[in-house]
């Protein structure tokens, strides 16, 4: 049997995160708390300009994708419409 394909959860970093957006996920984090199975992760980026001891550039990545139920709570709760789930 072929394994089941996981949902795709894409975060638009031009709206939230390090792509020149105004939202710093550290100040928001609503999606992290809305997701019951906690499949989203907030982390510092590997940007070489980061201070390795005190990184200031952060983003959200959906990591545990196979556990996503496509409930869409993260999409609904995001104030800047940065998340797409398919």
């Amino acid at each position: 049997m072929m394994p089941k394909k996981s949902p795709k959860v894409i975060v638009d970093y031009s709206k939230c995160g390090d792509g020149g957006s105004k939202v710093d996920p550290r100040d928001c984090g609503k999606c992290l708390r809305a997701c019951d199975p906690a499949i989203l992760l907030m982390h510092e980026t590997m940007d070489i300009r980061q201070d390795p001891y005190d990184p200031q550039i952060w983003r959200i990545t959906a990591v545990w994708l196979n556990l996503c139920t496509r409930c869409m709570k993260c999409v609904q709760v995001c104030p800047v419409g940065a998340i797409a789930v398919t």
Binding site: P3, K4, K5, S6, P25, R26, C28, G29, L32, R33, P37, A38, L40, L41, M42, H43, E44, M46, P52, Y53, D54, P55, T61, A62, V63, W64, L65, N66, L67
Partner: protein, 272 residues
């Protein structure tokens, strides 16, 4: 318990400060970086694939339990833990933990929920490493604990429902006691959802005395692992021993003193 695991000499011998600085500086990236060409992103799907799955699992287990000299800190080699009941946590904090002892923000809960909660208790060399990383340091800047304070804190966390766990980082050096939540804890997640032995169950399991249990169900809401069930026909709660991690947290909710911790080895069919 093996006192050597906690000593600062061992830390020096193993050059642990360097290893831990590397690992903790980039703590939140552990799951994002590629390990053997494969990142943890959607690891569930990858582990389902029959052949890649087996190799990946084998490699991941070897990596988690690595005792070899050239550990790679950024890959989290040799970083695994074991659940312990409150009594064992107190013994470690009271006698064996290397000083200084600090309490810092839980990184797992920060990554997974964006909340900062001071509940990770770290020892010795690791304390020195974490103190240099501002995002782990509690706002009120109070983080150094003496042994009595540390014992008081772990008891508070445990009563709240958090699971105490002791961590090797790297093996065999023991340097932290966490108060975990499932599935927010990365270690519990890898074990519960992906079957990797990133954290072992405690040396104990819960046993409920059927004569004492009044069926009030208070304990059921405490279990992070859904190991407790109210059985209407018996008017009492039963433990699913295969699910029980032996954390002992359920005991805090029982007004009838019906829950005891018994050795896991009494049940040869159970895993650690």
């Amino acid at each position: 318990m093996n006192a050597k695991n906690y000593s600062n000499e061992l830390a020096k011998e193993m050059n642990i400060a360097e290893y831990e600085t590397e690992q903790w500086r980039a703590f939140e990236q552990v799951y994002i970086r590629k390990i053997m060409g494969i990142s943890s992103i959607d690891v569930g799907y990858k582990l389902q694939l029959p052949i890649i799955g087996r190799v990946l699992r084998w490699n991941a287990e070897k990596m988690i339990h690595s005792e070899s000299k050239n550990r790679n800190a950024v890959r989290a080699d040799g970083h695994f833990g074991q659940v312990i009941p409150l009594e064992d946590a107190k013994i470690i904090l009271g006698n064996l933990a290397a000083e200084p002892i600090i309490e810092n923000y839980c990184m797992c809960r920060w990554m997974q929920r964006g909340v900062k909660e001071a509940c990770c208790i770290n020892f010795g060399v690791l304390s020195g490493v974490i103190e240099k990383l501002p995002r782990f340091i509690p706002k009120n800047n109070v983080y150094r604990l003496d042994r009595d304070e540390a014992i008081k804190r772990i008891e508070q966390h445990n009563r709240k429902g958090y699971v105490a766990s002791v961590w090797f980082q790297p093996v065999p050096y023991i340097n932290a006691i966490c108060s975990c939540e499932n599935p927010e804890c990365g270690g519990l997640r890898l074990r519960q959802d992906f079957g990797l032995n990133s954290v072992y169950k405690a040396e104990y399991v819960a046993a409920i005395d059927p004569d004492k249990c009044q069926g009030c169900k208070s304990c059921v809401s405490m279990c992070q692992f859904s190991a407790l069930r109210y059985i209407p026909s018996q008017e009492r709660v039963m433990v699913d021993l295969r699910k029980c991690f032996g954390c002992g947290v359920c005991r805090h909710a029982c007004k009838n003193d019906s829950i005891q911790m018994v050795p896991r080895e009494q049940f040869p069919g159970l895993q650690y």
